[in-house]
Protein backbone atom coordinates (compact mmCIF):
# COMPACT_ATOMS: atom_id res chain seq x y z
CA UNK A 1 0.00 0.00 0.00
CA UNK A 2 2.77 2.38 1.02
CA UNK A 3 4.70 1.46 -2.08
CA UNK A 4 1.67 2.19 -4.24
CA UNK A 5 1.26 5.55 -2.51
CA UNK A 6 4.89 6.47 -2.99
CA UNK A 7 4.70 5.35 -6.60
CA UNK A 8 1.63 7.48 -7.18
CA UNK A 9 3.18 10.54 -5.53
CA UNK A 10 6.27 9.98 -7.61
CA UNK A 11 4.22 9.79 -10.77
CA UNK A 12 2.43 13.01 -9.89
CA UNK A 13 5.52 14.98 -8.95
CA UNK A 14 8.40 13.60 -10.97
CA UNK A 15 9.08 14.88 -14.45
CA UNK A 16 12.14 13.84 -16.47
CA UNK A 17 14.88 16.16 -17.65
CA UNK A 18 14.56 16.76 -21.37
CA UNK A 19 18.06 16.60 -22.85
CA UNK A 20 19.75 19.92 -23.61
CA UNK A 21 20.23 20.85 -27.23
CA UNK A 22 22.66 23.26 -28.81
CA UNK A 23 20.79 26.51 -29.42
CA UNK A 24 19.40 26.22 -32.94
CA UNK A 25 20.70 28.67 -35.50
CA UNK A 26 18.21 31.42 -36.40
CA UNK A 27 18.11 30.27 -40.02
CA UNK A 28 16.91 26.85 -38.88
CA UNK A 29 13.38 28.29 -38.74
CA UNK A 30 11.04 29.18 -41.55
CA UNK A 31 10.48 32.94 -41.82
CA UNK A 32 6.70 32.60 -42.15
CA UNK A 33 6.62 30.45 -39.01
CA UNK A 34 8.62 33.06 -37.08
CA UNK A 35 6.25 35.79 -38.25
CA UNK A 36 3.25 33.79 -37.08
CA UNK A 37 5.01 33.20 -33.78
CA UNK A 38 5.53 36.94 -33.44
CA UNK A 39 1.80 37.58 -33.82
CA UNK A 40 0.97 34.82 -31.38
CA UNK A 41 3.47 36.17 -28.83
CA UNK A 42 1.75 39.55 -29.15
CA UNK A 43 -1.65 37.94 -28.56
CA UNK A 44 -0.12 36.13 -25.57
CA UNK A 45 1.18 39.45 -24.21
CA UNK A 46 4.42 37.61 -23.36
CA UNK A 47 6.52 40.78 -23.22
CA UNK A 48 4.41 42.29 -20.44
CA UNK A 49 5.73 39.86 -17.84
CA UNK A 50 8.99 38.75 -19.45
CA UNK A 51 10.49 42.22 -19.91
CA UNK A 52 11.36 44.78 -17.23
CA UNK A 53 11.53 48.53 -17.50
CA UNK A 54 14.76 49.45 -19.20
CA UNK A 55 15.63 45.78 -19.71
CA UNK A 56 16.14 43.71 -22.81
CA UNK A 57 13.15 42.14 -24.52
CA UNK A 58 12.07 38.79 -23.06
CA UNK A 59 15.01 38.66 -20.62
CA UNK A 60 12.65 38.30 -17.64
CA UNK A 61 13.18 39.55 -14.09
CA UNK A 62 9.83 41.27 -13.53
CA UNK A 63 8.65 40.88 -9.95
CA UNK A 64 5.07 39.60 -9.95
CA UNK A 65 3.44 40.13 -6.57
CA UNK A 66 1.05 37.33 -5.56
CA UNK A 67 -0.72 36.58 -2.27
CA UNK A 68 1.87 33.84 -1.78
CA UNK A 69 5.00 35.87 -2.34
CA UNK A 70 6.89 37.53 -5.16
CA UNK A 71 7.70 35.50 -8.23
CA UNK A 72 10.15 36.71 -10.86
CA UNK A 73 9.53 36.12 -14.52
CA UNK A 74 12.12 34.04 -16.33
CA UNK A 75 14.44 34.75 -19.22
CA UNK A 76 12.82 33.37 -22.38
CA UNK A 77 15.50 34.52 -24.81
CA UNK A 78 17.54 31.73 -26.44
CA UNK A 79 20.56 32.29 -24.17
CA UNK A 80 22.01 28.83 -23.53
CA UNK A 81 22.96 29.40 -19.91
CA UNK A 82 20.24 31.63 -18.49
CA UNK A 83 17.46 31.48 -21.07
CA UNK A 84 15.77 28.73 -23.06
CA UNK A 85 18.56 28.27 -25.61
CA UNK A 86 19.01 24.61 -24.68
CA UNK A 87 15.32 23.82 -24.83
CA UNK A 88 14.07 21.59 -27.59
CA UNK A 89 10.65 22.21 -29.05
CA UNK A 90 9.39 19.30 -26.95
CA UNK A 91 10.70 20.99 -23.79
CA UNK A 92 9.03 24.26 -24.79
CA UNK A 93 5.75 22.50 -25.51
CA UNK A 94 5.89 20.72 -22.15
CA UNK A 95 6.37 24.06 -20.36
CA UNK A 96 3.35 25.50 -22.16
CA UNK A 97 1.20 22.44 -21.64
CA UNK A 98 2.26 21.14 -18.23
CA UNK A 99 4.11 24.02 -16.59
CA UNK A 100 7.36 22.09 -16.25
CA UNK A 101 10.77 23.46 -17.25
CA UNK A 102 13.39 21.60 -19.24
CA UNK A 103 15.03 20.27 -16.11
CA UNK A 104 11.77 18.73 -14.96
CA UNK A 105 10.95 21.34 -12.27
CA UNK A 106 7.36 22.46 -11.80
CA UNK A 107 6.74 26.09 -12.67
CA UNK A 108 4.56 28.39 -10.60
CA UNK A 109 1.18 29.08 -12.20
CA UNK A 110 2.05 32.79 -12.34
CA UNK A 111 3.08 31.55 -15.76
CA UNK A 112 -0.47 30.97 -16.98
CA UNK A 113 -0.07 27.41 -18.26
CA UNK A 114 -3.59 26.73 -17.04
CA UNK A 115 -4.46 28.69 -20.21
CA UNK A 116 -1.47 27.86 -22.39
CA UNK A 117 -2.24 24.16 -22.01
CA UNK A 118 -5.01 24.77 -24.57
CA UNK A 119 -2.63 26.12 -27.23
CA UNK A 120 -2.28 23.86 -30.28
CA UNK A 121 0.96 22.08 -31.21
CA UNK A 122 1.09 24.17 -34.34
CA UNK A 123 0.93 27.44 -32.44
CA UNK A 124 3.49 26.26 -29.89
CA UNK A 125 5.81 25.49 -32.79
CA UNK A 126 5.43 29.02 -34.16
CA UNK A 127 5.96 30.58 -30.71
CA UNK A 128 9.06 28.44 -30.25
CA UNK A 129 10.42 29.55 -33.64
CA UNK A 130 9.81 33.19 -32.71
CA UNK A 131 11.44 33.01 -29.28
CA UNK A 132 14.43 30.96 -30.46
CA UNK A 133 15.22 33.60 -33.07
CA UNK A 134 15.30 36.53 -30.60
CA UNK A 135 18.52 38.13 -29.42
CA UNK A 136 19.96 35.90 -26.67
CA UNK A 137 20.41 37.84 -23.44
CA UNK A 138 22.53 36.64 -20.53
CA UNK A 139 20.27 37.37 -17.56
CA UNK A 140 20.19 34.90 -14.67
CA UNK A 141 16.78 34.44 -13.11
CA UNK A 142 16.10 36.13 -9.81
CA UNK A 143 15.33 34.19 -6.65
CA UNK A 144 11.59 34.00 -5.89
CA UNK A 145 10.51 35.31 -2.51
CA UNK A 146 8.15 32.63 -1.29
CA UNK A 147 8.13 31.06 2.14
CA UNK A 148 7.97 27.38 3.12
CA UNK A 149 6.22 25.16 2.12
CA UNK A 150 5.22 26.91 -1.11
CA UNK A 151 8.85 27.43 -2.04
CA UNK A 152 9.03 23.65 -2.54
CA UNK A 153 8.27 23.11 -6.19
CA UNK A 154 6.78 19.61 -5.77
CA UNK A 155 3.89 21.36 -3.99
CA UNK A 156 2.96 22.81 -7.37
CA UNK A 157 2.25 19.29 -8.63
CA UNK A 158 -0.56 19.12 -6.07
CA UNK A 159 -1.94 22.42 -7.31
CA UNK A 160 -1.94 21.09 -10.85
CA UNK A 161 -3.76 17.95 -9.74
CA UNK A 162 -6.53 20.18 -8.38
CA UNK A 163 -6.70 22.90 -11.01
CA UNK A 164 -4.89 22.12 -14.24
CA UNK A 165 -7.17 20.81 -16.98
CA UNK A 166 -4.95 19.68 -19.83
CA UNK A 167 -7.47 19.58 -22.64
CA UNK A 168 -7.12 21.00 -26.11
CA UNK A 169 -9.77 23.39 -27.36
CA UNK A 170 -12.90 21.62 -28.62
CA UNK A 171 -14.70 23.68 -31.27
CA UNK A 172 -18.40 24.28 -30.79
CA UNK A 173 -20.01 23.22 -34.07
CA UNK A 174 -23.11 25.32 -33.42
CA UNK A 175 -21.03 28.51 -33.48
CA UNK A 176 -19.30 30.40 -36.27
CA UNK A 177 -15.65 29.81 -37.16
CA UNK A 178 -14.93 33.34 -35.96
CA UNK A 179 -16.51 32.71 -32.54
CA UNK A 180 -14.55 29.47 -32.21
CA UNK A 181 -11.31 31.21 -33.16
CA UNK A 182 -12.03 33.84 -30.50
CA UNK A 183 -12.87 31.22 -27.89
CA UNK A 184 -9.64 29.33 -28.64
CA UNK A 185 -7.51 32.47 -28.31
CA UNK A 186 -9.27 33.78 -25.19
CA UNK A 187 -9.16 30.46 -23.32
CA UNK A 188 -5.60 29.78 -24.41
CA UNK A 189 -2.87 32.13 -25.47
CA UNK A 190 -4.60 35.46 -24.79
CA UNK A 191 -5.31 34.20 -21.24
CA UNK A 192 -7.84 36.99 -20.60
CA UNK A 193 -9.18 35.16 -17.56
CA UNK A 194 -5.81 35.27 -15.83
CA UNK A 195 -6.62 38.87 -14.89
CA UNK A 196 -10.38 39.16 -15.46
CA UNK A 197 -11.48 36.05 -13.53
CA UNK A 198 -11.36 36.11 -9.72
CA UNK A 199 -9.12 33.56 -8.01
CA UNK A 200 -9.78 31.24 -5.10
CA UNK A 201 -7.74 30.97 -1.88
CA UNK A 202 -5.22 28.76 -3.64
CA UNK A 203 -4.73 31.19 -6.49
CA UNK A 204 -6.67 29.27 -9.12
CA UNK A 205 -9.29 30.90 -11.31
CA UNK A 206 -12.80 30.25 -10.04
CA UNK A 207 -14.48 28.16 -12.75
CA UNK A 208 -17.95 29.27 -11.72
CA UNK A 209 -17.08 32.97 -11.84
CA UNK A 210 -15.44 33.25 -15.25
CA UNK A 211 -14.75 36.87 -16.25
CA UNK A 212 -16.43 38.21 -13.12
CA UNK A 213 -13.49 40.60 -12.56
CA UNK A 214 -10.14 40.04 -10.89
CA UNK A 215 -7.07 41.75 -9.47
CA UNK A 216 -3.76 42.48 -11.09
CA UNK A 217 -0.97 44.68 -9.70
CA UNK A 218 -3.34 46.82 -7.65
CA UNK A 219 -5.62 47.30 -10.62
CA UNK A 220 -9.12 45.97 -10.82
CA UNK A 221 -9.45 43.91 -14.01
CA UNK A 222 -13.07 44.71 -14.81
CA UNK A 223 -15.80 42.13 -15.02
CA UNK A 224 -16.37 41.19 -18.66
CA UNK A 225 -19.46 39.06 -18.17
CA UNK A 226 -22.99 40.27 -17.44
CA UNK A 227 -21.70 41.85 -14.22
CA UNK A 228 -19.75 44.47 -16.16
CA UNK A 229 -19.90 47.95 -14.63
CA UNK A 230 -19.31 49.75 -17.91
CA UNK A 231 -21.94 52.53 -18.04
CA UNK A 232 -22.61 51.70 -21.71
CA UNK A 233 -22.86 47.95 -22.43
CA UNK A 234 -20.10 46.62 -24.67
CA UNK A 235 -20.79 45.03 -28.04
CA UNK A 236 -18.54 43.29 -30.55
CA UNK A 237 -17.83 46.43 -32.59
CA UNK A 238 -16.90 48.48 -29.53
CA UNK A 239 -14.69 45.69 -28.19
CA UNK A 240 -13.00 45.35 -31.55
CA UNK A 241 -12.22 49.06 -31.78
CA UNK A 242 -11.03 49.20 -28.18
CA UNK A 243 -8.76 46.16 -28.47
CA UNK A 244 -7.42 47.33 -31.82
CA UNK A 245 -6.97 51.05 -31.14
CA UNK A 246 -6.80 51.23 -27.37
CA UNK A 247 -9.84 53.46 -26.96
CA UNK A 248 -13.50 53.80 -27.74
CA UNK A 249 -15.62 56.98 -27.62
CA UNK A 250 -18.24 55.38 -25.34
CA UNK A 251 -15.72 53.78 -22.99
CA UNK A 252 -12.47 55.71 -22.88
CA UNK A 253 -8.86 54.70 -23.07
CA UNK A 254 -6.98 51.54 -22.10
CA UNK A 255 -4.43 52.13 -19.35
CA UNK A 256 -2.66 50.24 -16.60
CA UNK A 257 -1.81 46.65 -17.51
CA UNK A 258 -4.44 46.75 -20.29
CA UNK A 259 -2.42 49.40 -22.15
CA UNK A 260 0.23 46.81 -22.95
CA UNK A 261 -2.41 44.32 -24.07
CA UNK A 262 -3.96 46.68 -26.61
CA UNK A 263 -0.56 47.90 -27.66
CA UNK A 264 0.29 44.30 -28.56
CA UNK A 265 -3.07 43.69 -30.20
CA UNK A 266 -2.60 46.68 -32.49
CA UNK A 267 -0.07 44.68 -34.51
CA UNK A 268 -1.66 41.26 -34.92
CA UNK A 269 -3.92 40.06 -37.76
CA UNK A 270 -7.19 41.95 -37.84
CA UNK A 271 -9.19 38.73 -38.00
CA UNK A 272 -7.82 37.55 -34.64
CA UNK A 273 -8.75 40.77 -32.82
CA UNK A 274 -12.18 40.62 -34.44
CA UNK A 275 -12.57 36.99 -33.33
CA UNK A 276 -11.65 37.86 -29.73
CA UNK A 277 -14.16 40.73 -29.79
CA UNK A 278 -16.95 38.54 -31.17
CA UNK A 279 -16.37 35.88 -28.53
CA UNK A 280 -16.06 38.33 -25.63
CA UNK A 281 -19.21 40.15 -26.72
CA UNK A 282 -20.99 36.83 -26.45
CA UNK A 283 -19.53 36.31 -22.96
CA UNK A 284 -20.88 39.69 -21.85
CA UNK A 285 -24.26 38.72 -23.30
CA UNK A 286 -27.10 40.75 -24.73
CA UNK A 287 -27.85 43.63 -22.36
CA UNK A 288 -31.21 43.63 -20.62
CA UNK A 289 -33.63 46.46 -21.56
CA UNK A 290 -32.85 48.15 -18.21
CA UNK A 291 -29.14 47.98 -18.84
CA UNK A 292 -29.60 49.36 -22.34
CA UNK A 293 -31.62 52.23 -20.97
CA UNK A 294 -28.93 53.05 -18.41
CA UNK A 295 -26.42 53.10 -21.25
CA UNK A 296 -28.58 55.56 -23.18
CA UNK A 297 -28.90 57.71 -20.06
CA UNK A 298 -25.12 57.74 -19.57
CA UNK A 299 -24.59 58.77 -23.19
CA UNK A 300 -27.20 61.50 -22.80
CA UNK A 301 -25.51 62.79 -19.65
CA UNK A 302 -22.18 62.82 -21.47
CA UNK A 303 -23.68 64.89 -24.28
CA UNK A 304 -25.51 67.34 -22.04
CA UNK A 305 -24.06 70.81 -21.42
CA UNK A 306 -21.40 71.04 -18.76
CA UNK A 307 -22.49 71.49 -15.17
CA UNK A 308 -18.93 72.17 -14.19
CA UNK A 309 -19.82 75.46 -12.53
CA UNK A 310 -21.13 73.83 -9.35
CA UNK A 311 -18.29 74.29 -6.93
CA UNK A 312 -20.04 73.71 -3.66
CA UNK A 313 -17.60 71.12 -2.33
CA UNK A 314 -13.84 70.70 -2.37
CA UNK A 315 -14.22 67.73 -4.73
CA UNK A 316 -16.29 69.72 -7.19
CA UNK A 317 -13.86 72.64 -7.05
CA UNK A 318 -10.92 70.36 -7.76
CA UNK A 319 -12.83 68.75 -10.64
CA UNK A 320 -13.57 72.10 -12.23
CA UNK A 321 -10.01 73.37 -11.86
CA UNK A 322 -8.09 70.19 -12.65
CA UNK A 323 -10.25 67.84 -14.74
CA UNK A 324 -13.05 69.58 -16.62
CA UNK A 325 -10.80 71.37 -19.09
CA UNK A 326 -10.17 68.01 -20.75
CA UNK A 327 -13.05 65.81 -19.59
CA UNK A 328 -15.85 68.22 -20.45
CA UNK A 329 -14.85 69.68 -23.75
CA UNK A 330 -15.95 68.92 -27.25
CA UNK A 331 -12.53 67.60 -28.16
CA UNK A 332 -13.07 64.01 -29.26
CA UNK A 333 -11.19 61.02 -27.96
CA UNK A 334 -8.49 59.86 -27.90
CA UNK A 335 -6.91 63.29 -27.37
CA UNK A 336 -9.74 64.74 -25.35
CA UNK A 337 -10.71 63.11 -22.05
CA UNK A 338 -13.69 60.77 -21.89
CA UNK A 339 -16.76 62.25 -20.26
CA UNK A 340 -16.68 60.61 -16.85
CA UNK A 341 -20.33 59.57 -17.08
CA UNK A 342 -18.98 56.94 -19.50
CA UNK A 343 -16.05 55.88 -17.33
CA UNK A 344 -16.03 52.31 -16.03
CA UNK A 345 -13.47 53.37 -13.42
CA UNK A 346 -15.98 55.78 -11.86
CA UNK A 347 -18.75 53.14 -11.92
CA UNK A 348 -16.69 50.18 -10.75
CA UNK A 349 -17.03 48.50 -7.34
CA UNK A 350 -13.90 50.07 -5.86
CA UNK A 351 -11.95 53.25 -6.63
CA UNK A 352 -8.54 51.63 -7.18
CA UNK A 353 -8.28 52.19 -10.92
CA UNK A 354 -9.53 55.74 -10.70
CA UNK A 355 -6.99 56.46 -7.96
CA UNK A 356 -4.20 54.91 -10.06
CA UNK A 357 -5.05 57.00 -13.09
CA UNK A 358 -5.52 60.27 -11.23
CA UNK A 359 -2.23 59.73 -9.39
CA UNK A 360 0.00 58.82 -12.29
CA UNK A 361 -1.94 59.90 -15.36
CA UNK A 362 -1.48 58.31 -18.74
CA UNK A 363 1.90 59.05 -20.21
CA UNK A 364 2.86 59.38 -23.84
CA UNK A 365 3.92 56.29 -25.74
CA UNK A 366 7.36 56.75 -27.16
CA UNK A 367 7.50 57.39 -30.86
CA UNK A 368 3.76 57.16 -31.31
CA UNK A 369 0.77 59.40 -31.09
CA UNK A 370 -1.13 58.52 -27.97
CA UNK A 371 -3.65 59.92 -25.54
CA UNK A 372 -2.02 61.48 -22.52
CA UNK A 373 -3.18 62.65 -19.13
CA UNK A 374 -1.09 64.39 -16.50
CA UNK A 375 -0.79 62.72 -13.11
CA UNK A 376 -1.80 64.55 -9.95
CA UNK A 377 0.23 62.67 -7.34
CA UNK A 378 2.34 65.74 -6.58
CA UNK A 379 -0.42 68.33 -6.53
CA UNK A 380 -3.06 66.59 -4.38
CA UNK A 381 -2.71 64.95 -1.01
CA UNK A 382 -4.69 61.82 -0.14
CA UNK A 383 -7.59 63.73 1.44
CA UNK A 384 -7.94 66.07 -1.53
CA UNK A 385 -7.84 63.20 -3.98
CA UNK A 386 -10.39 61.28 -1.93
CA UNK A 387 -12.67 64.34 -2.01
CA UNK A 388 -12.32 64.43 -5.79
CA UNK A 389 -13.00 60.71 -6.21
CA UNK A 390 -16.06 60.85 -3.97
CA UNK A 391 -17.39 63.77 -6.00
CA UNK A 392 -16.83 61.96 -9.30
CA UNK A 393 -18.64 58.90 -7.98
CA UNK A 394 -21.62 60.93 -6.81
CA UNK A 395 -21.90 63.04 -9.93
CA UNK A 396 -21.04 60.60 -12.68
CA UNK A 397 -22.29 57.18 -11.62
CA UNK A 398 -25.54 55.65 -10.50
CA UNK A 399 -23.73 53.41 -8.03
CA UNK A 400 -23.62 53.80 -4.23
CA UNK A 401 -20.82 55.82 -2.66
CA UNK A 402 -17.47 54.10 -2.11
CA UNK A 403 -16.13 53.63 1.39
CA UNK A 404 -12.53 54.01 2.57
CA UNK A 405 -11.50 56.06 -0.44
CA UNK A 406 -8.68 57.88 1.35
CA UNK A 407 -7.07 54.58 2.31
CA UNK A 408 -7.43 53.31 -1.25
CA UNK A 409 -5.65 56.44 -2.47
CA UNK A 410 -2.84 55.98 0.06
CA UNK A 411 -2.43 52.32 -0.96
CA UNK A 412 -2.51 53.24 -4.63
CA UNK A 413 0.17 55.87 -4.09
CA UNK A 414 2.50 53.17 -2.80
CA UNK A 415 1.55 50.58 -5.42
CA UNK A 416 1.78 52.97 -8.37
CA UNK A 417 5.34 53.78 -7.38
CA UNK A 418 6.30 50.11 -7.49
CA UNK A 419 4.46 49.55 -10.79
CA UNK A 420 6.17 52.48 -12.46
CA UNK A 421 9.60 51.28 -11.40
CA UNK A 422 9.27 47.77 -12.73
CA UNK A 423 6.77 47.52 -15.54
CA UNK A 424 8.12 47.79 -19.05
CA UNK A 425 4.64 48.66 -20.21
CA UNK A 426 4.06 51.82 -22.22
CA UNK A 427 5.09 54.24 -19.52
CA UNK A 428 7.72 55.72 -21.76
CA UNK A 429 11.01 55.76 -19.93
CA UNK A 430 13.68 55.37 -22.58
CA UNK A 431 15.38 52.02 -22.40
CA UNK A 432 18.76 53.05 -23.67
CA UNK A 433 19.28 56.81 -23.85
CA UNK A 434 22.97 56.47 -24.70
CA UNK A 435 21.94 55.29 -28.14
CA UNK A 436 19.85 58.35 -28.75
CA UNK A 437 22.27 60.91 -27.35
CA UNK A 438 24.45 60.54 -30.42
CA UNK A 439 24.01 63.35 -32.94
Amino acid sequence: MLIVGVAMAFAIVWRPVIPAIDPPAPYAFDAALIKRGRDLAAIGNCNECHTVRGGKNFAGGLPVPTPFGTIYSSNITPDAETGIGQWSEAAFRRAMRDGVNRKGEHLYPTFPYDHFTHVSDEDDRALYAFLMTRQPVHAPSRENQISFPLNQRPVIAGWKLLFLRRDSYQPDATRSAEWNRGAYLVAGLAHCGACHTPRNALGAERVNAQFAGGDVDNWLAYALNDRSHAPVPWDADALYMYLRSGWHPDHGTARGPMAQVVSNLSSVPDSDVRAIAVYMADISGTPTPDRKQEGEAALAQARSPSQASQTDTAGATIYVGACASCHETSRPLPYGGVNLALSTAVSSPDPRNLANVVLSGVSAVEGERSPIMPGFADSMNDAQMAALLNYLRARFSKQPAWTGVEKTVADARRAVTVYLQTSAGPRNAPADPTQRDKP
Binding site: T317, G321, D437
Partner: protein, 165 residues
Protein backbone atom coordinates in the same frame (compact mmCIF):
# COMPACT_ATOMS: atom_id res chain seq x y z
CA UNK B 1 -9.60 86.33 -0.19
CA UNK B 2 -6.98 83.71 0.35
CA UNK B 3 -3.34 83.85 1.25
CA UNK B 4 -0.90 82.43 -1.26
CA UNK B 5 2.76 82.00 -0.41
CA UNK B 6 4.94 82.57 -3.45
CA UNK B 7 8.72 82.77 -3.41
CA UNK B 8 8.74 83.36 0.33
CA UNK B 9 6.19 86.23 0.24
CA UNK B 10 2.56 86.12 1.22
CA UNK B 11 0.01 87.49 -1.21
CA UNK B 12 -3.64 88.23 -0.54
CA UNK B 13 -5.46 86.94 -3.57
CA UNK B 14 -9.08 87.48 -4.55
CA UNK B 15 -9.75 84.44 -6.73
CA UNK B 16 -12.34 81.69 -6.92
CA UNK B 17 -11.09 78.43 -5.40
CA UNK B 18 -11.31 76.69 -8.79
CA UNK B 19 -9.09 79.29 -10.50
CA UNK B 20 -5.90 77.72 -11.84
CA UNK B 21 -2.76 78.82 -10.02
CA UNK B 22 -1.21 79.93 -13.32
CA UNK B 23 -3.82 82.66 -13.82
CA UNK B 24 -3.24 84.00 -10.33
CA UNK B 25 0.54 83.99 -10.76
CA UNK B 26 0.45 85.81 -14.07
CA UNK B 27 -2.60 88.08 -13.77
CA UNK B 28 -2.68 88.92 -10.06
CA UNK B 29 0.88 88.61 -8.83
CA UNK B 30 2.43 89.53 -12.18
CA UNK B 31 4.97 86.73 -12.14
CA UNK B 32 5.26 85.85 -15.81
CA UNK B 33 7.91 83.14 -15.88
CA UNK B 34 5.35 80.32 -15.85
CA UNK B 35 3.79 80.22 -19.31
CA UNK B 36 0.35 79.37 -20.63
CA UNK B 37 0.89 76.74 -23.30
CA UNK B 38 -2.00 74.35 -23.68
CA UNK B 39 -4.04 74.92 -20.54
CA UNK B 40 -4.59 71.16 -20.36
CA UNK B 41 -1.54 69.96 -18.45
CA UNK B 42 -0.06 68.43 -21.58
CA UNK B 43 2.90 70.67 -22.50
CA UNK B 44 4.65 71.51 -19.23
CA UNK B 45 5.34 75.21 -19.87
CA UNK B 46 3.37 76.23 -16.76
CA UNK B 47 5.32 74.06 -14.29
CA UNK B 48 6.17 75.58 -10.91
CA UNK B 49 7.37 74.03 -7.68
CA UNK B 50 4.95 73.48 -4.80
CA UNK B 51 6.43 72.16 -1.57
CA UNK B 52 9.47 70.84 -3.42
CA UNK B 53 7.58 69.10 -6.23
CA UNK B 54 7.01 70.27 -9.78
CA UNK B 55 3.35 70.63 -10.62
CA UNK B 56 1.47 71.95 -13.64
CA UNK B 57 -0.02 75.27 -12.54
CA UNK B 58 -2.60 75.47 -15.35
CA UNK B 59 -4.49 72.49 -13.91
CA UNK B 60 -3.88 73.16 -10.23
CA UNK B 61 -6.84 75.01 -8.73
CA UNK B 62 -6.23 77.44 -5.88
CA UNK B 63 -8.15 75.19 -3.47
CA UNK B 64 -5.21 72.79 -3.52
CA UNK B 65 -2.67 75.40 -2.43
CA UNK B 66 -3.75 76.37 1.04
CA UNK B 67 -0.78 76.38 3.39
CA UNK B 68 1.66 75.43 0.64
CA UNK B 69 4.81 77.12 -0.61
CA UNK B 70 4.86 78.01 -4.29
CA UNK B 71 8.19 78.65 -6.01
CA UNK B 72 8.38 80.11 -9.49
CA UNK B 73 11.43 80.64 -11.63
CA UNK B 74 11.64 84.21 -10.30
CA UNK B 75 12.12 82.73 -6.86
CA UNK B 76 15.22 80.79 -7.81
CA UNK B 77 17.47 83.61 -8.96
CA UNK B 78 17.63 86.81 -10.93
CA UNK B 79 19.38 88.11 -14.04
CA UNK B 80 22.22 89.49 -11.94
CA UNK B 81 22.32 86.51 -9.60
CA UNK B 82 21.13 83.44 -11.50
CA UNK B 83 20.58 80.20 -9.62
CA UNK B 84 22.70 77.20 -10.71
CA UNK B 85 19.88 75.85 -12.87
CA UNK B 86 19.50 79.23 -14.61
CA UNK B 87 23.26 79.65 -15.04
CA UNK B 88 23.48 76.17 -16.55
CA UNK B 89 20.73 76.87 -19.08
CA UNK B 90 22.45 80.16 -20.07
CA UNK B 91 25.89 78.57 -20.33
CA UNK B 92 24.57 75.74 -22.48
CA UNK B 93 22.43 78.19 -24.50
CA UNK B 94 19.61 75.74 -24.03
CA UNK B 95 16.84 78.09 -25.13
CA UNK B 96 15.86 78.88 -28.67
CA UNK B 97 12.44 80.54 -28.46
CA UNK B 98 12.52 79.89 -24.72
CA UNK B 99 8.80 79.41 -24.15
CA UNK B 100 9.14 75.95 -22.63
CA UNK B 101 12.32 76.70 -20.69
CA UNK B 102 10.86 78.04 -17.41
CA UNK B 103 8.81 74.86 -17.07
CA UNK B 104 11.80 72.71 -17.99
CA UNK B 105 13.94 74.50 -15.41
CA UNK B 106 11.38 74.10 -12.65
CA UNK B 107 10.99 70.38 -13.40
CA UNK B 108 14.77 69.94 -13.49
CA UNK B 109 15.15 71.92 -10.26
CA UNK B 110 12.60 69.66 -8.54
CA UNK B 111 14.46 66.61 -9.82
CA UNK B 112 17.83 67.88 -8.60
CA UNK B 113 16.36 68.72 -5.20
CA UNK B 114 15.59 65.08 -4.54
CA UNK B 115 18.26 63.48 -6.72
CA UNK B 116 21.51 65.43 -6.97
CA UNK B 117 23.09 63.03 -9.47
CA UNK B 118 20.36 61.89 -11.86
CA UNK B 119 21.18 59.53 -14.70
CA UNK B 120 20.31 60.47 -18.26
CA UNK B 121 17.34 58.12 -18.08
CA UNK B 122 16.10 59.83 -14.94
CA UNK B 123 16.45 63.31 -16.48
CA UNK B 124 14.60 62.19 -19.58
CA UNK B 125 11.87 60.51 -17.55
CA UNK B 126 11.40 63.66 -15.45
CA UNK B 127 11.27 65.97 -18.48
CA UNK B 128 9.15 63.56 -20.51
CA UNK B 129 5.98 65.56 -20.07
CA UNK B 130 7.59 68.82 -21.27
CA UNK B 131 7.33 69.69 -24.92
CA UNK B 132 9.87 71.78 -26.84
CA UNK B 133 8.96 72.63 -30.41
CA UNK B 134 12.31 74.23 -31.27
CA UNK B 135 14.23 71.04 -30.63
CA UNK B 136 16.88 72.11 -28.15
CA UNK B 137 16.42 68.87 -26.25
CA UNK B 138 20.09 67.88 -26.32
CA UNK B 139 21.11 71.26 -24.94
CA UNK B 140 18.44 71.04 -22.28
CA UNK B 141 19.79 67.66 -21.19
CA UNK B 142 23.30 69.07 -21.08
CA UNK B 143 22.07 72.05 -19.07
CA UNK B 144 20.48 69.79 -16.46
CA UNK B 145 23.68 67.78 -16.17
CA UNK B 146 25.66 71.01 -15.87
CA UNK B 147 23.28 72.31 -13.21
CA UNK B 148 23.82 69.12 -11.22
CA UNK B 149 27.57 69.73 -11.31
CA UNK B 150 27.18 73.41 -10.40
CA UNK B 151 24.98 72.54 -7.44
CA UNK B 152 27.42 69.90 -6.29
CA UNK B 153 30.31 72.35 -6.54
CA UNK B 154 28.30 74.98 -4.64
CA UNK B 155 27.51 72.44 -1.91
CA UNK B 156 31.15 71.42 -1.69
CA UNK B 157 32.41 75.00 -1.44
CA UNK B 158 29.81 75.95 1.17
CA UNK B 159 30.86 72.94 3.24
CA UNK B 160 34.51 73.97 2.92
CA UNK B 161 33.63 77.53 3.92
CA UNK B 162 31.78 76.34 6.95
CA UNK B 163 34.59 74.10 8.07
CA UNK B 164 37.06 76.94 7.56
CA UNK B 165 35.15 79.24 9.87
Amino acid sequence: MMTLKVNGREHQVDADPDTPLLYVLRDDIKLNAAKFGCGLGQCGSCAVIVDGKAILSCITPMVLLEGKQVTTLEGLGSVSEPAPIQRAFIEEQAAQCGYCIPGMMMRAQALLLKNSKPTDAEIRAALEQHLCRCGTHMRILRAVRRAARLMEAADASSTTNRSAQ
